[in-house]
């Protein structure tokens, strides 16, 4: 019965949401205002003998009607290309340029370019299994009709705020113009821009046509939000691992001088010690101590529902990726999505952006994948000097997984996101507990505690 109800709600919200979107795009705020004024004046102006409010009704109705008619006389034939940046970050406003070509022979004025987001409707599965944070505290009506859950999921999926040009387009027939567009990503991941529209308002600004603009689909990676970490964690020491000289992209001598030895075929010419060769007559090479870089692990637990806590966990992981010095270390990001992933970045391997891109696409898998994650860690733990494990919540399976990790990795830091209301189990004493409602403040407090100690 509950499934049937959820199915019905999903169906009806999908349908009504579409009409709501159409109305919201086509009727401008002034249009809504004039409509309300017409209704109010119709109610108040019924006594024609005593009042002239009916004149307001007549004028607003006339304005509404003429606007509605004239908007159909507006049309545009535009081809546009976006000049997007490679990456963007959640919460950071992005400005970019659009080159718009007017393919009509008529001049186009008072037109505003905008980008429509992809369909933000959640799937039935998402709608059924992703409760809005704090939903249990809502009143019975809200909990029955789940409208706020729907709105919240839509917000999550929309990906960016209002996306419109900063100025009106004014372009002659068969000419090209450039306009600036801006938006703020609200969700990490891969955004695909495929529906650019041009808004064509009527002369009074009550209604507008939203004509489609011919443009190619452009992708944009939106990186997770990052926090300043300060001196929160100092991880491990270096060990013998790849990523030293072999993986180093630095040429020339590295490490301390060890000794001289005879040349062996295959030795690089630059290692030859020319003076010793001249003195002894046999080729001699200089041998240096190999450089080793520390390798850190960053484990992200992706079990658990989609929600603010998980997003904050991803942001904390991204913050560590940004904060760790990849010039002097390697970082392994370990997580489970549809399969086990180990993404490495660091000196000579890849830039940290690769890890951030991986984190941008991380999804909460909604199933118990700790066993897979445990197996992944078991395969790679020997190479890791230190490890940071980030958990969006804390419960018995996670505690078991953490204790297993402790037995494998010498230096393990647990970071748990949650508070008293969300944690099912008391976190270990040495774990860093971050309040997902205000991670920045939690990190600041931890830093201060660290400074005092």
């Amino acid at each position: 019965m509950k499934n049937l109800w959820l199915r019905f709600l999903h169906w009806s919200y999908c349908r009504t949401g579409r009409w709501g979107w159409i109305a919201a795009r086509r009727i401008r705020p002034l249009g809504w205002g004039v409509s309300v004024l017409a209704v109010v004046s119709a109610v108040l102006g019924t006594d024609i003998l005593k009042s002239s409010v009916f004149v307001v009704f007549a004028t607003s109705t006339a304005l509404w009607s003429i606007s509605f008619i004239t908007v159909f006389f507006r049309s545009a034939k535009i081809f546009a290309s976006r000049e997007l940046p490679q990456v963007a970050s959640v919460g950071e406003e992005v400005h970019f340029t659009v080159t718009a070509q007017n393919r009509s022979k008529h001049r186009l004025r008072a037109a505003l370019l905008e980008e429509w987001p992809p369909n933000p409707n959640p799937t039935l599965e998402e709608f059924s299994h992703s409760p809005e944070p704090g939903e249990e505290q809502r009143n019975p009506v809200d909990r029955t009709f789940l409208f706020y859950r729907w709105m919240w999921l839509q917000e999550q999926k929309r990906g960016f705020t209002d996306f419109e040009a900063t100025e009106y387009l004014d372009v002659e027939g068969n000419a090209t113009a450039k306009v600036q567009l801006r938006f703020t990503p609200t969700q990490r991941g891969l955004l695909r821009f495929s529906e650019m529209r041009v808004r064509l308002p009527d002369p009074f600004g009550l209604f507008q046509r939203c004509a489609r603009v011919q443009a190619e689909t452009d992708p944009l990676i939106v990186l997770p939000k990052r926090y300043p970490l300060g001196d929160l964690l100092h991880l491990g020491q270096s060990r013998l691992h790849l990523g030293g000289d072999i993986a180093s992209n630095r040429t020339g001598q590295t490490g301390d001088f060890l000794h001289l030895r005879d040349y062996r075929p295959g030795d690089p010419i630059r290692s030859l010690d020319w003076k010793s060769w001249a003195r002894t007559g046999t080729p001699v090479v200089r041998e240096y101590e190999d450089s080793f870089f520390p390798r850190f692990g960053l484990i992200l637990d992706t079990t658990g529902p989609v929600g603010a806590i998980f997003e904050e966990a991803v942001s904390v992981a991204a913050s560590f990726v940004s904060a760790l010095d990849t010039e002097e270390s390697l970082i392994d990001l370990l997580f489970i999505r549809d399969q086990a992933y180990r993404v490495t970045a660091g000196r000579g391997v890849a830039k940290p952006i690769r890890l951030l891109e991986a984190l941008a696409s991380v999804q909460a898998n909604g199933r118990d994948s700790l066993e897979d994650l445990s197996a992944l860690c078991k395969r790679h733990h020997k190479q890791l000097e230190a490890c940071i494990a980030i958990f969006p919540g804390w419960n018995a399976p996670r505690a078991a997984f953490a204790s297993q990790l402790r037995s494998q990795i010498e230096e393990l830091h647990l970071i748990i996101l949650g508070d008293e209301s969300t944690l099912e189990l008391n976190p270990p004493a040495d774990a860093l507990l971050l309040n997902p409602k205000n991670v920045a403040l939690s990190l600041q407090q931890l830093n201060r505690q660290l400074a005092r100690s």
């Binding site: 004046s41 108040l44 009042s51 009704f57 007549a58 004028t59 006339a62 606007s67």
Partner: protein
């Protein structure tokens, strides 16, 4: 708060001021409007700004709500009903003035939408507690205020000329609003002008159409819709199947020297047609009865007096007793109860004018409130009611009916049936007084009931069924049947409505409730028709002399054939709820009359003025201390963002400047403070204070606030005063 305010719709400069002046011109509050317009538009020239924040806007909203509540209370005291309460619309620009001023002089461009809803504020707080991102929408009140102002301007504007000016002004304001609200690079003057000409023509057409439709409907364009004015037309419940339910509410209170129950008339009608009674004018019979204003005098002693004749203004000095009425008028023009021999109405409070028709119906004009008046009787022949007479059309032509409307029975079936009944009762051979007695006798066996069950089928009518078959009905049946039966017997009659004064309260006060509402008929007895020469001025101004039949020599008497049991059925003893409601209504009405009396009005207004003045002074005092400059809105530490509180260290700056002199431009704070003026004791505290200040200032570390404040206070104690 987000940056949505950058894209907010804002009215252009001077539009709001113009709209407010427009309001002032149409509501006779020109001076108030001028002051308001200057205040609203002053933001463009004044350098004053305030940082109100959500709390400040909230207070402005509460102030507006208090204003609305106060005005509604006053209107409610006026007992004007729902329509009367809507009178607050006229004052909308004043009521929302605190809000619009807060927006105009606030630092923010717009107001957070949560200001208007406690539920929304609660939701935002809840979302913030849950760590959800909250995007509070911002509302710019300019255009809503503009809409309220134009609505308020038209709410009490009527008359063809005023309406024309209103329409023209409205079009100009709307055109300015629509054109200038658009961004400059999106304006298309030619297209806009063309489209707006269409809007003007279309709105003129709609307005004309609405007026024409309204007139058509009120003239009876749709069945049974002809005029809702009960003083001209009374639709009875005859022929309806239902139980009559009347209100127990007090309509009028009457102080009468008479102690026995009697009837008090409010309306009189002379033409019966298909269950409706109409008040038809004999002098221009196509139209409804015409009301003429009672005489007023310019003498100060006669203030608040309305006389039926200019010679009767002294009646209150000669007559010994008067009736006094007090009640609420919910309509601009509504019938009022008067005595039968009324000559003068005195001490009328809250009444602009009183009009009376030739049939004796009186109406108070422009009295949208509780009214109070005394009625003095004249000892002469009652001039309230005109005798029956043959009608003359507006063109000055004599009606084809030789009989006056008071003798006509338009329905043929009813005419025949009542004539037969009259013959059966032998009324034609009797004197007028005997006829009346016989009619009383005929209706004696009838039964009074509020359950109406008569449904007529042709050729019979409901009134005939009542008279000949069912013999049970409501007072409207009795009064109508009596009137038609007497007409059939040759006595001119009218249908009268009013109250039966029988519930007596303490202090000689009669309570006239809805359930005391009654109908009876007035019979003109002992009169004789004679041909009289009348002069009549027609619509074109032409004066004609016409010979017509006028009944003279008779008198109007009340004939009430409704069984006396109706008063017991309709008027049970009041319940405790009704007593409580009566007490409350009396209190409200008495307070309203007390407040509006000449002797009290002055100091009541003075008290209100003092309260208002004190409130304004308090607001001005609060605002004076927090004023900012538009050009330097963020105080000296302008590098702080809008939402950042300045560091406690800032309060130390005047002391430091008095010690070291002004800080030179380009010199870092720390460098400036490395001065020999500081003692060895002060230096470590200063060093620590600076470190915390920098942490507060540049690391946004708010946890040091308390410690920093303490250190600043310690330093202040050691530094010399400014």
């Amino acid at each position: 708060m987000n940056d949505a305010h950058l894209r907010l719709l804002k009215p252009p400069r001077l539009l709001l001021g113009g709209a407010v002046l427009f309001w002032g011109a149409f509501t006779d509050h020109a001076l108030t409007a001028l002051a308001m317009a200057l205040l609203i538009e002053g933001r463009h020239w004044l350098d004053w700004r305030w940082r109100f924040g959500a709390t400040g806007y909230n207070r402005a909203w509460v102030l507006s709500l208090l204003g609305i509540a106060g005005l509604l209370t006053m209107l409610w005291l006026n007992a004007g009903g729902i329509v009367g309460l809507l009178g607050f619309i006229e004052w909308l620009p004043v009521l929302f003035l605190p809000l619009i001023l807060a927006q105009q002089y606030g630092e923010e461009e717009a107001i957070p939408a949560t200001v208007f809803s406690a539920v929304a504020r609660h939701r935002v707080k809840k979302a913030e507690r849950l760590g959800k991102p909250v995007d509070i929408p911002m509302v710019h009140l300019g255009l809503p205020y503009f809409a309220f102002t134009i609505l308020a301007s038209g709410y009490n504007t009527f008359g063809q000329r005023e309406r024309l000016f209103y329409f023209a002004g409205l079009l100009i304001l709307v055109a300015c609003a629509c054109y200038f609200v658009t961004r400059q690079n999106a304006r298309r003057p030619l297209f806009f002008t063309l489209a707006f000409i269409f809007v003007s023509l279309f709105s003129a057409a709609i307005s004309t159409g609405l007026v024409a439709t309204y007139t058509w409907i009120s003239k009876g364009g749709i069945y049974n819709t002809r005029s809702q004015n009960q003083s001209l037309l009374r639709t009875t419940n005859i022929g309806k199947i239902k139980e009559i339910k009347q209100s127990r509410r007090l309509y009028w209170r009457m102080w009468s020297p008479r102690s026995q129950p009697h009837l008090v008339m409010t309306g009189s009608y002379n033409l019966y047609f298909k269950t409706r009674w109409e008040s038809r004018d004999s002098e221009g019979f196509e139209g409804f009865d015409i009301f003429d204003a009672l005489s007023v005098s310019n003498e100060p002693k006669n203030e608040g007096e309305f006389a039926l004749d200019a010679t009767l203004f002294d009646l209150n000095e000669t007559a010994s007793s008067a009736l006094r009425f007090r009640g609420a008028i919910k309509d601009n023009r509504k019938e009022i109860p008067l005595s039968e021999y009324v000559g003068l109405i005195s001490d009328a409070q809250e009444v602009d004018d009183i009009e009376i028709s030739r049939l004796g119906t009186a109406a108070a004009v422009n009295a949208d409130s509780v009214i109070d008046y005394r009625v003095w009787d004249t000892l002469q022949t009652p001039i309230r009611a005109e005798s029956p007479r043959q009608s003359i059309s507006r063109q000055g032509e004599l009606s084809s009916y030789s009989q006056p409307p008071e003798l006509r029975i338009p329905d043929d079936d009813e005419q025949i049936a009542f004539a037969q009944l009259s013959r059966r009762l032998g009324l034609h051979t009797m004197s007028d007084r005997d006829k009346i007695r016989a009619v009383y006798d005929y209706f004696r066996d009838f039964r009074y009931t509020k359950n109406l069950t008569i449904r007529a089928q042709a050729p019979s009518t409901p009134l005939l069924k009542f008279t000949t078959e069912v013999k049970a009905g409501h007072c409207e049946y009795f009064a109508s049947a009596t009137a038609l039966l007497l007409r059939a017997a040759g006595i001119p009659t009218r249908y009268a409505t009013g109250f039966s004064a029988r519930e007596k309260a303490s202090g000689g006060e009669f309570l006239l409730r809805g359930t005391h509402g009654h109908a009876w008929c007035l019979a003109y007895i002992n009169g004789q028709p004679e041909v009289v020469q009348s002069t009549f001025t027609n619509d074109t101004g032409e004066t004609k002399t016409i010979d017509r039949i006028v009944w003279t020599g008779g008198e109007w008497i009340e004939v009430d054939t409704t069984p006396a049991s109706w008063s017991q059925i309709d008027s049970p003893d009041p319940t405790w709820q009704e007593k409580w409601a009566d007490w409350w209504q009396r209190l409200r009405e008495d307070f309203q009359i007390w407040r509006s009396s000449e002797s009290n009005r002055g100091w009541v207004n003075l008290v209100l003025l003092i309260i208002g003045g004190l409130l304004l002074a308090f607001i001005a005092f609060r605002l004076a201390g927090t004023r900012l400059r538009k050009t330097h809105p963020h105080t000296p530490q302008s590098l702080y963002g809008h939402d950042q509180e300045p560091s406690p260290f800032v309060s130390l700056m005047p002391r430091l400047e008095s010690l070291l002199g002004p800080r030179p431009p380009g010199i870092a704070l720390r460098t400036w403070l490395k001065a020999p003026e500081f003692t060895e004791e002060q230096q470590p505290i200063l060093h620590e204070t600076l470190a915390l200040h920098e942490s507060y200032r540049f690391n946004q570390d708010r946890h040091v606030t308390e410690q920093l404040t303490q250190l600043v206070e310690r330093l202040k104690q050691t530094l010399p005063p400014k």
